[in-house]
């Protein structure tokens, strides 16, 4: 790790001030990507602004079907939240299958979406749920927030404070893990709401998380796994790497969508 200066922010305002005055600063949430990357000498921020001690960023509120999750909430807290499990069990299931217990007790939802790893789980959930990303400056629709591989709509000094959404009538998540890293080789989040079905795919797109139109259309007719028989998705814009080529990922998208629907239907 290269030398860096550590700052512990006491509030969101403090964090914004600290990051604004840093030469090449980085906000530190759970650190589950940033710290290993720094240890591998692949990132060299001059300053780290630690958000982990800011109470305002923590906690989960469920009110009716309205959900608000503080950006600093860990995956383990999401996974273990009974109220959330009642209205949106797919999200607690998703959180329970991120990384390993160590990662889940350190990593946060805000850190995950700010990093926007193309194989991370949360982006698929936020996109399918039509969630809103709340920052210290504004509210950003998930569809506008994720802009590409490791790219988001965030300004350099913008701090995510929460994620908010209305829980859908039904939702499900299924992922096929990368055999080595256990990130999503392909993960599909399906959400059925009154205004239609949304299906978001992570781990597969060569430009990050995306919505699978063909699958949404098929499931709008019938929200059953059988509705996806014969449905295929084009491999054109999918990733190819040593673990999976685009056509294998295209296959996995449909298979995982079926399994996500089955899970959503209980």
């Amino acid at each position: 790790m290269y030398e860096t200066t550590y700052h512990r922010a006491s509030s969101v305002e403090d964090a914004v001030k600290l990051i604004g005055s840093a030469e090449d600063g980085k906000l530190l949430a759970g650190g589950q990507t940033l710290i290993p990357t720094m240890k591998s000498r692949l990132a060299a921020p001059t300053d780290l602004v630690d958000l982990r001690q800011i109470d305002a960023l923590k906690g989960i509120e469920v009110s009716g079907r309205s959900v608000r999750i503080g950006a600093g909430t860990t995956h383990a807290e999401v996974a273990g939240h009974a109220g959330l499990a009642e209205v949106c069990p797919a999200l607690t299931h998703l959180a329970a299958h991120i990384g390993d217990p160590h990662v889940r007790h350190m990593g946060t939802i805000g850190g995950s979406i700010a990093n926007n790893d193309p194989a991370a789980d949360y982006p698929a959930a936020l996109l399918a749920l039509g969630a809103t990303v709340v920052t210290d400056k504004r509210e950003i629709a998930a569809a506008d927030f994720f802009t590409g591989l490791f790219e988001t709509a965030l300004a350099p000094d913008e701090v995510i404070t929460a994620v908010a959404f209305e829980a859908p009538a039904k939702c499900g998540y299924a992922k096929f893990p990368n055999p080595a890293s256990r990130y999503a080789l392909t993960g599909v989040f399906v959400a059925k709401r009154d205004d239609g079905v949304r299906v978001a795919v992570t781990g597969a797109g060569d430009d990050g998380v995306f919505r699978a139109d063909a699958i949404e259309q098929a499931l709008s007719t019938s929200f059953e796994p059988s509705a996806l028989e014969g449905v295929s998705v084009p491999a054109d814009d999918l990733m190819t790497d040593i673990h999976a080529s685009a056509d294998y990922r295209a296959n996995l998208i449909v298979v995982m969508a079926k399994r996500a629907v089955a899970a959503a239907n209980g």
């Binding site: 096929f176 055999p179 080595a180 040593i242 080529s245 294998y248």
Partner: protein, 782 residues
């Protein structure tokens, strides 16, 4: 068998310190004034070095020295060597290219060491290593051995034209070809044995300390064989004469073969310590381990197995290309020859065998012995081919194997090996019963209802452990003898130290070796200490690899115990005024058989050291040493059965059952043996399903350089194993033991692949059988 003697499931003595974090590894060693090293490594797979500018690096904070290959050569440090001479079939010696511990004018793989930086802290050393300016002129690279043999391929070493190190053969080509020509049936396969990265839990490390006052070097290193390291560093690398060099391999966190070899880093740390005047420590990070630890396997083979009309094997012909990487590592030449082709007869009576092996340089990390070393490759060739043949011939895999088993011993194969003993039928029967082989059809039908493809596969392996005798391996080109030494020191108050040339890096020697002593003298194992891993304590030894510590290392201890026992009996007979032949040692007492006339063990020891009343002419003391050179290899064998379920939608394979029935001869500690089998199977399943080292074909960059891309087996990838042993004693050593450290890794890959190909109905499947690979094979089949 006493509660702590031979055959007892004694808990491992060493585990208390390992599981409480008290183990002491090289990185735990601290020498006053010690500083830290980082290596400058090549970012290119193949390039000329046109200049190295260290000026900036030397000015960096904390830097003590920056040293390059030129200075190393000026100081006369030698090139690394391969210590086993193999001759091509035309009689020419293998073509060994120069491997300088620090590259001088050319780099040949990503990670090749170019310079060393010594600084106050590890971080400062790394910062300064990045500031060393190396100018490279990039050259085309080749990473695949088959490609490297082709005309026009990039050339690595001027010594090896066409990148060919040797073109070696064994067996009777004429007889083999004739038998194939006359055969009623020939099974033909092309097989790839995938390249693996060993991944010991503890990365390699070295601490070199030059003591100017004594003109003496000490090297703490992660070694499986510290005496061999000292010998090679003295005799060939010119680091220091043996009497001026102490090598210590303290607790070592796994080796699997990768820590047999002498690497550039320990040589350079020792040399750099003298150059800089400070003790120099280097510890690899995980990516360095991926890049520079010797890799394993990486074979391409074409196989032909011929049968007569009665389904008896008549000939086996194998043509193998073995990837050696950029340089010849210490024992690399022996792995695809004498440790591979000599085992191609498997458990079968095959009248004619011929194998041709071409060893090839490529721009990849050096390849050498990795758990099983040649024998997993041989077993994969034989057992995939036999299972394929059974399918082609419409026979059950067990029936075809049974028909061709060797049943009379000793058995001379056409490829050097003389099998001393074995009972293959018993292992096969045990495995099939444990697996409920006969009930498979019902299980398959049930799985089908759940949308799963169920398959069953078998593998009957044989391996050769405890390579020996020294004269024989010498005649085959080995640069060392393969005996072992031991010394048993009975202290004056009766406690016992056993000094051994074997080295434990996870095997549990402190327990099993103590059990031998407990068995012999009836003393508690807590009164026995095992001393190993230090050339200043143990006179000489050959170390631990090739499952040799039981068959060879413990046999040496037995010989030393024999001598101690004989002397103790003489002393006791004198004190008890009895006949020496009437003295027995049991339960910690030395007594006249059938009487109460006894002395406690410690009193006999004390008498030997006080020397107040010894037999006329006897030297005081109770300490004996022995060297043991076996008469033959040992031949563990067994049968593994694997049952899988494949998810046809994703290609994911779940191992639902794994049975291992091994014949290891006599067993000292069944719990430790089972642990070895479990670990071996985990590594074998890793090779079959998960692990595949990949280089980019164009750039030669290592793609699988971390756990983000290289899949290690996890507990969840494995079922609970059903293991059992049969015990046909090895006639060749005093304990009748065979060796168990590698069997799991040797026997399991073909069993797994045979099961998957059975499940999916397509035999064209390469390792690792990742979900994507299986999905493609399924699509191709239907």
């Amino acid at each position: 068998m006493g509660v702590e003697g031979i055959g007892a499931r004694v808990a491992r003595k060493e585990d208390a310190r390992f599981i409480t974090g008290l183990g002491r590894y090289v990185d735990d060693m601290v020498v006053p004034g010690m500083k830290h090293a980082a290596f400058v490594r090549s970012p290119h797979a193949h390039a000329e070095i046109t200049g190295i500018d260290v000026a900036e690096a030397k000015k960096m904070p904390g830097v003590i020295g920056v040293l390059t290959g030129k200075e190393l050569k000026t100081d006369g440090i030698g090139n690394l060597i391969c210590g086993w001479m193999v001759h091509s079939k035309d009689g020419s010696p293998m073509k060994m290219g120069a491997w300088s511990p620090l590259a001088v004018d050319r780099v040949r793989y990503v990670g090749d060491a170019v310079a060393i930086v010594v600084a106050e802290t590890r971080g400062q050393a790394r910062d300064a290593a990045e500031a060393v300016q190396v100018s490279y002129e990039e050259k085309a690279a080749v990473t695949d051995a088959v490609e490297a043999l082709k005309d026009g391929a990039p050339q690595l070493h001027p010594e090896a034209e066409g990148n060919l190190i040797y073109d070696w053969e064994i067996g009777d080509a004429k007889a083999t070809d004739a038998a194939i020509a006359e055969a009623a049936h020939v099974t033909r396969l092309k097989l790839v044995n995938n390249r693996l990265v060993p991944n010991a839990m503890e990365p390699r490390a070295a601490l070199g300390h030059y003591d100017k006052a004594e003109d003496h070097y000490t090297c703490w290193t992660t070694s499986q064989n510290p005496h061999v390291a000292r010998l090679v560093m003295s005799a060939f690398y010119n680091v220091a004469p043996e009497n001026k060099l102490r090598v210590i391999a303290p607790d070592v966190g796994g080796g699997f073969g990768s820590k047999i070899f002498i690497y550039p880093e320990e040589i350079v740390c020792l040399w750099a310590s003298k150059k800089t005047g400070v003790p120099v420590k280097w510890v690899a990070d995980r990516t360095e381990s991926f890049m520079t630890d010797a890799h394993g396997r990486d074979h391409h083979s074409e196989v032909q197995l011929a049968f007569d009309a009665d389904n008896r094997m008549t000939a086996l012909k194998v043509d193998t290309i073995a990837n050696f990487g950029a340089y010849m590592s210490l024992f690399s030449s022996s792995v695809p020859t004498y440790l591979y082709a000599t085992l191609l007869s498997g458990q079968y009576d095959i009248p004619a065998i011929h194998c041709n092996v071409r060893a090839v340089y490529t721009n990849t990390a050096p390849v050498d012995a990795y758990r099983g070393a040649g024998r997993p490759e041989a077993t994969y060739v034989v057992e995939r081919t036999v299972e394929t043949a059974a399918r082609e011939l419409g026979l059950s895999p067990a029936e075809l194997r049974r028909k061709n088993f060797i049943r009379e011993f000793p058995h001379q194969t056409p490829v050097i090996m003389n099998y001393d003993a074995g009972d293959y039928e018993t292992s096969l029967k045990a495995a099939m019963e444990a697996a409920d082989y006969d009930g498979f059809a019902a299980r398959r039908a049930e799985a089908e209802k759940r949308g799963r493809l169920r398959g069953i596969g078998m593998s009957c392996y044989i391996e050769a452990c405890g390579i020996a005798p020294s004269a024989a391996v010498g005649s085959l080109g080995a640069g060392v003898g393969l005996w072992e030494s031991a010394e048993v020191r009975v202290n004056a108050a009766g406690t016992i130290e056993v000094l051994t040339g074997s080295h434990s890096h996870g095997q549990g020697h402190e327990t099993t070796f103590s059990q031998l002593v407990a068995e012999r003298f009836g003393v508690p194992i807590d009164s026995v200490s095992i001393v190993h891993g230090d050339t200043d304590k143990v006179q000489m030894g050959m170390g631990t690899y090739g499952s040799r510590s039981g068959a060879v290392g413990m046999s040496a201890i037995v010989k030393a115990l024999d001598k101690v026992e004989a002397k103790a009996k003489k002393v006791a007979a004198h004190l008890l005024e009895a006949d020496e032949g009437d003295i027995v040692i049991e339960n910690g007492e030395v007594k006249v058989a059938g009487t109460d006339n006894a002395l406690p063990w410690f009193q006999v020891a004390l008498a030997a050291y006080t020397a107040h009343n010894l037999p006329e002419g006897m030297e005081p003391g109770l300490k004996e040493g022995a060297f043991y050179d076996p008469t033959n290899f040992t031949f563990p064998a067994g049968c593994y059965v694997c049952e899988v379920e494949v998810d046809p939608e994703t290609g994911h394979t779940e191992i639902v059952q794994f049975v291992a029935a091994d014949d290891f001869g006599n067993i000292i500690n069944p719990m430790i043996v089972e642990g070895q089998v479990h670990g071996g199977i985990a590594q074998g399943v890793g090779q079959a399903l998960l692990e595949g080292c990949r280089y980019d074909a164009e750039s030669g960059q290592l793609i699988t350089a971390s756990y983000m891309d290289y899949t290690m087996p996890r507990a969840g990838d494995l079922p609970s194993f059903k293991v059992s042993t049969s015990n046909t004693p090895c006639p060749g050593n005093p304990l009748g033991i065979k060796g168990c450290g590698e069997a799991g890794a040797i026997g399991s890959p073909p069993a797994v692949i045979n099961a998957i190909t059975d499940a999916i109905g397509n035999n064209d499947l390469t390792m690792p059988a990742t979900p994507q690979t299986v999905w493609r094979a399924l699509k191709a089949a239907h």
